[in-house]
């Protein structure tokens, strides 16, 4: 099977239809495992039971970033290679990325209140993640504003690549500026600083959230392909009515 065959939307629909039940089952299993591990994990010696918020906050934050990185790669696919599924992938990822970024912001806020004494502070990490959420809303609005799909795809691709500047800013904001948000404690050169009893459920939840993202993304891509088919059919109907 060549890459061109895989790029065919009909081929993608057929392959993804076979993968979806397996992905869904794997997602449910991973969430059950992660949920049990998270429930049984000990409280943190300083943060008490609030550390359990980390099991959803951190995976949501990573996926908020991951979705934009995915969209940026898809944007290159749209602008450079004009891959038929690139804009489909980007467009499907945007609302899911926005949802995970919103989860990150809300859970972070609910974690911050008991630990920092405030729901929100305008520090570099929190502000840059809020900017990411606004960028998601912006790119979704851009797609909806431009009616011509090809022009819309190009405009959104450029917007996405410009917005990608925010990704390293989010990642390194805790190193570049003094922030109330703690520095990196999992992905760091010296290795994780979290005890294994809390790190293990966190990593299981990361796997579960990533599987959830993949499942939702493929389902949303399938919808996006159907939406384009519907648009083509509506144009054909209008042409037939006008002829």
């Amino acid at each position: 099977m060549t890459l061109i065959n895989l790029a065919n939307p009909s081929r993608f629909l057929a392959l993804s239809a076979r993968a979806m039940p397996w992905l869904t089952a794997a997602t449910v299993c991973a969430f059950i495992m992660g949920g049990v591990q998270a429930y049984l994990s000990p409280d943190d010696y300083q943060q008490g039971a609030t550390v359990k918020i980390m099991f959803i906050h951190v995976p949501a934050a990573w996926l908020g970033l991951f979705a934009w990185v995915l969209m940026s790669l898809a944007a290159l696919g749209t602008l450079v290679w004009r891959h038929p599924l690139a804009d489909v992938a980007a467009r499907a990822a945007a609302p899911i990325g926005a949802a995970f970024t919103l989860i990150c912001l809300l859970t972070g806020s609910l974690w911050g209140r008991p630990m920092w004494g405030t729901y929100w502070v305008w520090d570099a990490r929190l502000t840059s993640v809020l900017v990411l959420f606004l960028l998601y809303l912006g790119v979704i609005a851009l797609w909806r504003t431009i009616e011509d799909p090809t022009r819309g795809a190009r405009a959104a691709a450029v917007f996405t690549l410009v917005g990608a500047i925010n990704i390293p800013i989010i990642k390194f904001s805790v190193d570049w500026w003094n922030t109330l948000h703690q520095p990196a404690s999992v992905l760091r050169l010296g290795g994780p600083t979290i005890h294994v009893s809390i790190l293990a459920p966190l990593l299981t939840m990361v796997v579960a959230f990533t599987l959830l993202f993949l499942t939702l993304h493929i389902a949303a891509m399938r919808n996006e392909i159907l939406r384009r088919r519907l648009r083509t059919m509506l144009i054909m109907q209008a042409d037939a009515a006008g002829a």
Partner: protein, 59 residues
């Protein structure tokens, strides 16, 4: 379940995350149903895409 004085924040965080994910799943499922219904209506009127007909002949 003993989360102590932080229970409201922990339950609130998990509840918010579950509500957002449930909304996302509902949106994708309802969107798919809506699209399939519209496509089926058009196909019933005899409107089909050329590329689809070609793919069905030679997938």
């Amino acid at each position: 379940m003993a989360f102590g004085p932080y229970a409201i924040f922990i339950v609130g965080a998990y509840g918010a995350a579950a509500a957002i994910v449930a909304g996302l799943i509902a949106w994708i499922v309802l969107d798919r149903r809506h699209l399939i219904r519209l496509i089926n209506e058009l196909e019933a009127k005899g409107i089909t895409r050329r590329s689809e007909r070609a793919y069905e002949k030679n997938p």
